[in-house]
Amino acid sequence: MYEIIEKKLLSDSVKLMKIKAPLVAQKALPGQFIILRIDEKGERIPLTIADSDSKEGSITIIFLEVGKTTKQLGALNVGDSIENFAGPLGMPSEVKKYGTVVCVGGGVGIAPLYPIIKALKQGGNRVISILGAKTADLLLLEKEIHVFSDESYIATDDGSKGHKGFVSEVLQQVIDRHKVDMVMAIGPIIMMKVVSTLTKKYNIKTLVSLNPIMVDGTGMCGGCRVSIDGKTKFACVDGPEFDGHKVDYDNLMLRNRRFVHAEGEACRLADVQ
């Protein structure tokens, strides 16, 4: 059992939790994820690690309540425990000195971007962050990321903060002004697709972190397979980060809709209960 030792509401539907998992915390590196299962009847779901503290033995996860499991998780409180919590899984981000790195985060994708930004900054890079959300209320970790960024920008769909429009428009402006050596993008699939299309024009190395549906998370089921440059890769063991210019985003979007119907039914039944 893994105890919840801290809980914060970041917005109506986005929650932060610190989970006591000393073995995972000892090994966790930016870019990696965990798989959790709330109880005996629960589904195994992957969540990217937002922060880790090896001294405290804790892992921080930040999640959007989208389906039955994340809603159920969000209803748990400090002192409650979850049945299973395995990790750290996947390959860590390749943190090295690139030069100027632009980190683009969208929605709840900002959470896993945070430890990468921190590591890139500590690794001697000039970090420019661009954070996007629907509205200002939904922006995550703005202050925390600001601390580790040389420049930071905001874009909101409704213009309630920063640029009114998409993160890709801000990225275009940054590319126009700076020599950019690398772009790291985590967020909705469509955002990563648009960012990658833009950076490809300028031939800027771009990494994205993919979030396909997973079951075991150890390379066994292939449910998380993604097409990278026409080759099948497993996001759980080969990723979750891949060269953004080589990802078949349309296939990923399709595969992430595989169980939409069942998820809807599970949520409906859970609400009824």
Binding site: C221, T232, N251, R258
Partner: protein
């Protein structure tokens, strides 16, 4: 007195009934039938059946006990060699092993050794298993990576030799393929759990959620333990590598079976994990896993469940009993067929498979006749779900993170017959060493490795 030439059938659920549920298909022998069948044993002096048993069970010995009605003693004889008889008594390919060597075959059917083993295991489980007396502790600590058939066997044997054994399991349940792969109707999960409980009663500890290579490394384990056994299995699914394999509707056998068996998707929405099942399901491959997929599909409501195989029934690697059960349940076999592409609708949802017809040519390196495509024989079949069950490769996680370990060209850990790897302290066995094989071969490998580990520790001290 005339000798009965056939083994009594096990009573089982009728095909029409059983495709509506996930309950076990055969019910097993009752006491009288078991005694009657045990009396068919000729008690051959040279014990040919034992040569066919990877875990070295004294077969004539336990059969003689059943013949006399001493079931407790029979259980003791089996348990002296095999800690998991309720599992092997259900999933062993007996026809190629003990029963394949049985002298009675010359007169008719071999002795029903598998069924008798199962009978005793079930008798003992229902009565309540007693762990044997704890041996004196050797003071040695051994880590076992993976709680599948190889790991459980190795752990159980080592514990009975007096070593302190800890198993590290990546998933949330023990059993490996016994839990995620083999369906409930063939190997009930309550039985796997009961066998695991027995292994624990021998003093073995199991830690879950530990992905060795990620949560802890083999190197770290080596610092804390006197020896390590790696039994991480063949978890990596093989693909057909044809266009359209990533469409919505195409699953690896592993994903499909893991969802259904380990995550209990057949009880969705009571359990949270879903599985999407179409009306027409096609399984590619003809091994035990393929039969499991095709039969599971029927139980999930598929109207038609096909097996598409590029060779003929003679070359099918599945156990005879699985093929027979699949046929009885209405699985449709389309043979000498190889898929060339999956076709989706405008939304990317699987709707058809295109295939080529094949003919058999000369034998290949596996000794089976090689299938050769017939040019111009393309046809299409409208399908909703495709299950790819054409084998698994060794799990790459430990080989990837342990560069010093010698690895074969198929990603397998190289070992000798006794499970010794290129590193003295590390042993390995089961599918991680051999590539995908059977439960009983993995158990045999776990057993031999336990003996080698014991010898290694004795030599060292």
């Amino acid at each position: 007195m005339s000798i009965r030439r056939t083994k009594p059938e096990m009573p089982e659920q009728s095909p029409r009934e059983r495709i509506k549920n996930f309950k076990e298909v055969p019910f097993g022998y009752g006491k009288e039938i078991a005694i009657q069948e045990a009396n068919r044993c000729l008690q051959c002096k040279n014990k040919p059946c034992m040569k066919g048993c990877p875990v070295e069970i004294d077969i004539p010995g336990f059969v003689a006990c059943i013949a006399k009605g001493d079931f407790d003693k029979a259980a003791e004889v089996i348990k002296a060699k095999n800690n998991l008889p309720a599992i092997s008594g259900r999933v062993c390919p007996y026809e190629n092993q003990c029963e394949g060597e049985c002298t009675l075959k010359k007169l008719g059917e071999p002795l029903g050794i598998g069924r008798l083993e199962r009978f005793i295991a079930d008798y003992e489980r229902e009565k309540g298993k007693k762990p044997p007396k704890k041996p004196e502790s050797t003071g040695k600590k051994i880590a076992v990576v993976g709680s599948g058939p190889a790991g459980l066997t190795c752990a159980g044997d080592l514990a009975r030799m007096g070593h302190a054994v800890t198993i590290f399991e990546a998933l949330h349940d023990p059993g490996g393929v016994l839990m995620y792969g083999i369906p409930e109707f063939r190997l009930p999960k309550a039985i796997v759990k009961s066998e695991v409980e027995y292994i624990k009663s021998l003093g073995v500890n199991i830690h879950y959620d530990i992905v060795v290579g990620k949560t802890i490394t083999v190197q770290e384990i080596m610092n804390d333990y006197d020896a390590v056994f790696i039994g991480t299995g063949a978890g990596l699914p093989n693909w057909l590598n044809i266009p359209g394999e990533n469409l919505d509707g195409v699953y690896s056998a592993n994903e499909f079976l893991t969802r259904v068996n380990m995550m209990k998707a057949y009880r969705f929405p009571e359990y949270d994990t879903p599985v999407k099942m179409g009306k027409v399901v096609v399984t590619f491959g003809a091994g035990n896993v393929a039969m499991d997929c095709a039969r599971t599909s029927l139980r999930l409501g598929a109207e038609k469940s096909y097996i598409l195989y590029r060779r003929t029934e003679t070359e099918m690697p599945a156990r005879a009993e699985e093929i027979e059960h699949a046929k009885q349940e209405g699985v449709i076999f389309k043979l000498l067929i190889a898929p060339i592409r999956f076709i989706g609708d405008e939304k990317g949802i699987l709707k058809e498979v295109e295939y080529l017809k094949m003919q058999l040519g000369a034998p290949d390196e596996s000794g089976r006749r090689r299938p050769i495509p017939i040019p111009g024989s393309e046809e299409k079949l409208a399908i909703d779900t495709a299950l790819v069950a054409i084998g698994q490769s060794p799990n790459p996680l430990i080989p990837q993170t342990m560069k010093e370990l010698k690895i074969g060209k198929h990603g397998n850990i190289i070992t000798d017959e006794e499970g010794r790897t290129s590193i003295p302290k590390i042993f390995a066995g089961g599918d991680i060493a051999t590539g995908a094989a059977t439960v009983i071969l993995a158990m045999g490998a776990g057993k031999r490795a336990a003996r080698a580990i014991d010898a290694y520790l004795k030599n060292k001290s």
